[in-house]
């Protein structure tokens, strides 16, 4: 995975790109909160949430297919949980299957819940994918800092992002070196596992040594236990307007979802 994949769209010029990262982070969290608290039968609310996130994607000028692709990466995780629901929920049976003496019953309630869980997960991931594609990770970390996420977590993420690519290149070199010394598919599974183990070990040791050099570099420039950085977020009027519009839309959807429940 190269940086071209991760960092491809964050430097756009659309309204979404120019919004304050604090607003974008909060708006995404609010969206996920609303999506996950919408009751299973409130399909119109899910539809409106989809319209809302699609509108945001279109406004960002990032190709929607790209955001969709990114959102699919996490779907298997939600899918695994959702797939078990039709079989485990009590309720009216719609279909029964008896393989080898077991009895698997699919219930209507289970199917409904499965669909709702998938919809919630996917909508949430779409919003998160848009946030990540349209914001540089660095801005996101600044936003988290402003929202009082602990400094240790932020530095950890910052270092992880900085050295992800360095580590990736190192791993790539190890892989090339291995490939250069082994013709064909190589030995059996045991042999390949051993080689892989060696590679992971040597990557770990290299990273450990690098961390000591980085720490020395930080000390050399006055580091004394706490990382400072220049504050550079500036809240603009358009951030207030965008925040207001987003909140209104989400509130309307919440009301609709709750109203649907009463009927």
């Amino acid at each position: 995975m190269g940086h071209t994949f991760l960092d491809r769209y964050y430097r756009g010029t659309s309204l979404i790109h120019h919004l304050d990262p604090r607003l974008k982070l909060l708006a995404t969290l609010a969206f996920i909160l609303v999506a996950s608290s919408t009751p299973p039968r409130a399909w119109p609310a899910f539809g409106l949430l989809a319209v809302l996130v699609l509108a945001a994607i279109l406004a960002s000028h990032i190709p929607p297919v790209e955001v969709l692709k990114r959102s699919l990466i996490t779907l298997p995780f939600a899918g695994m949980i959702a797939l078990s629901l039709p079989f485990t929920q009590g309720g009216q049976s719609v279909w029964t299957w008896r393989p080898f003496g077991w009895e698997l019953t699919v219930t209507g309630e289970g199917l409904l819940l499965c669909g709702a869980v998938l919809a919630k997960a996917w909508l949430s991931v779409l919003a998160a994918a848009l946030l990540l594609a349209s914001t540089s990770l660095f801005d996101l970390l600044q936003a988290m800092r402003a929202l009082h996420v602990p400094a240790v977590l932020i530095s950890t993420m910052s270092f992880m992002y900085r050295y992800l690519f360095v580590l990736g290149e190192e791993a790539g070199r190890l892989q090339t070196a291995r490939a250069a010394r082994s013709a064909g598919p190589g030995g059996g599974l045991a042999w390949r596992t051993r080689v892989l183990g060696g590679m992971i070990g040597s990557l770990f040791i290299r990273s450990y040594e690098r961390s000591e050099r980085i720490y020395a570099a930080m000390l050399s420039r006055g580091f004394a236990g706490e990382i400072h950085s220049l504050a550079r977020l500036a809240w603009q009027r358009r951030d207030s307007w965008a925040g207001l519009a987003w909140t209104t839309a989400l509130l309307a959807i919440v009301l609709l979802a709750q109203f649907r429940r009463w009927v």
């Binding site: 660095f138 900085r162 980085i214 930080m218 006055g222 004394a224």
Partner: protein, 237 residues
């Protein structure tokens, strides 16, 4: 004669695994001098550098402009000595160029407006104006080396200590870097295997081998002494 800006006397250091890295090293460098430190791998060049700003401390005396890098003076000494590591990926640990160049001045306690000022001046000095928002992993090795130098220029360091500045650079990037180093007025200590760089940049050379300082003199003289160079695993340019 004025007081030397770098003063190392009888410095001996062993790593915790009892590997002896430096033995009785003596070195005095005056303000404005450009001194090359040459020697085979493992001679102790990097270890010596880490003593200059108090990251390591051995037996003997180390003073920078009359200050020992301990206790209260540590911060001042670290501001005076700008250490540029060999691998810019070790030196540049922040997500953007701005943060990396600002790191030194911020941690030395400069107010934000002055930090921005220093960042702009340091980037201009290395010919990288306007690169504040770039991320290190999007830049070439030559560019990252320049930014690494900017990170210490922003600290207004009086002494620049460079570990293998030309390693891994292609000829053009190497030439550009050499041109940059020549224009910088700071006192410089340069560890290098690049004898042509040593020849072009540093009028004075010291040879370190096996943790001992074995020669100290004019570059032209030392580098022409083929027997001496051979003996310490080096070669004349």
């Amino acid at each position: 004669m004025t007081q030397p800006i770098i003063c190392v006397e009888h410095l001996t250091f062993s790593y915790p695994d009892s590997r002896r890295a430096l033995t009785d090293v003596n070195l005095a460098v005056h303000a404005g001098e450009k001194v090359a430190i040459v020697g085979p791998n493992g001679a102790g060049k990097s270890t010596l550098f880490l003593h200059l700003n108090g990251i390591l401390s051995g037996q003997g005396r180390v003073e920078i402009a009359g200050l020992a890098p301990v206790d209260k003076a540590l911060r001042t000494v670290r501001a005076k000595v700008g250490l540029v590591f060999q691998d810019p990926d070790d030196q540049l640990f922040s997500p953007t160029v701005l943060d990396d160049v600002a790191f030194g001045p911020l941690h030395l306690g400069c107010p934000p407006s002055e930090v921005r000022d220093r960042v702009a001046r340091a980037l201009a000095a290395v010919g990288m104006t306007g690169c504040e928002a770039l991320m290190p992993h999007h830049m070439s090795l030559g560019e990252r080396k320049r930014i690494a130098i900017a990170t210490v220029l922003a600290m207004n360091s009086e002494v620049l200590v460079l570990d293998e500045p030309s390693a891994g650079l292609d000829p053009r990037a190497r030439r550009n870097l050499l041109g940059l180093l020549k224009t910088l007025p700071q006192t410089m200590l340069v560890a290098s295997h690049d004898m042509r760089l040593v020849w072009d940049l540093c009028p004075r050379t010291v040879i370190l081998d096996g943790g001992r300082l074995v020669a100290d003199g004019p570059t032209a003289e030392l580098l022409r002494d083929a027997a001496l160079m051979e003996q310490h695993g080096l070669e004349s340019p």
